[in-house]
Subunit: 153 residues, 2 copies
């Protein structure tokens, strides 16, 4: 995602106004790698601006999404998450315990819909969600993590 300064520029140049609230949200998102929900962006922003409303956060997040600066993401954790990493094609790691989401920096160019299996769909993209346990949620086995299990695909 771009810096708050670049986003300011971008907002102005697209006829959007740049307010203290928006700058605050830009700052919160900057470098956030945890794919926050609107709620958690609001919680962080509230630390700087107590009166900022959740509505404003949603609004700004969807403005950013419209400009292609972040991507709304639904990985089945009940809320929409926002991914500020739009530059590198990537997939996602989701913790099935705590819901933590991280980017998986890899592409899978060999991934194809097998011949005849497409049911007539004109497929344009694929998203992979890898599910497992994040480092924090793993049971410790004699001081280190339990052995890695086989990926079921």
């Amino acid at each position: 995602m771009r810096t708050p300064e670049e986003l300011t520029e971008l907002f102005r140049s697209t006829g959007r106004k740049v307010t203290a609230q928006r700058l605050c949200i830009f700052r919160v998102l900057q470098g956030d790698v945890t794919h926050p929900s609107a709620e958690s962006v609001h919680a962080l922003a509230s630390r700087e601006m107590e009166t900022i409303s959740l509505k404003t956060v949603y609004q700004t997040l969807y403005d950013l999404a419209e400009l292609g600066e972040i991507v709304p993401l639904d990985v089945g954790t009940g809320m929409t998450r926002f991914d500020p990493n739009v530059d590198d094609p990537h997939h996602h790691l989701v913790c099935r315990q705590c819901g933590r989401v991280r980017d998986l920096a890899a592409s899978f160019p060999e991934l194809r819909v097998p011949e005849g299996a497409d049911l007539g769909y004109q497929v344009g993209s694929a998203e992979i969600v890898f599910r497992g346990l994040c480092p924090e949620c793993q049971p410790e086995v004699r001081g280190r993590r339990a052995s890695v299990t086989q990926v079921q695909t």
Copy 2:
């Protein structure tokens, strides 16, 4: 998914009661390949039993999920979808226009998290959602479908 008769058996043997509503829901799910939402199961069931409540549908769907007969699925269409196909490992095709969901009967045993990209996650499974246009939503080009585009992964 099992037949209504088998499900009746299964429900009884797990201390659940078999009611007319439940049988109706079993019948509706039987052979449904479109991954219906609770709402659409309710709509179909209502054709046979006008008074059946949405709550009952949810309840029965989650009973079936608990018994492993169907799988709740979130593919980002705003509602939970239910997949009666639990026997064959598979992934999903989602229409980005109408939200139609279909099974993609294929497994990708070669799909691995690249060495060092797992960020410490202990990955156990992967789900792939292929997005595109279903046959009904495709623009027609001189009588037949437009050419297939490249899958972006």
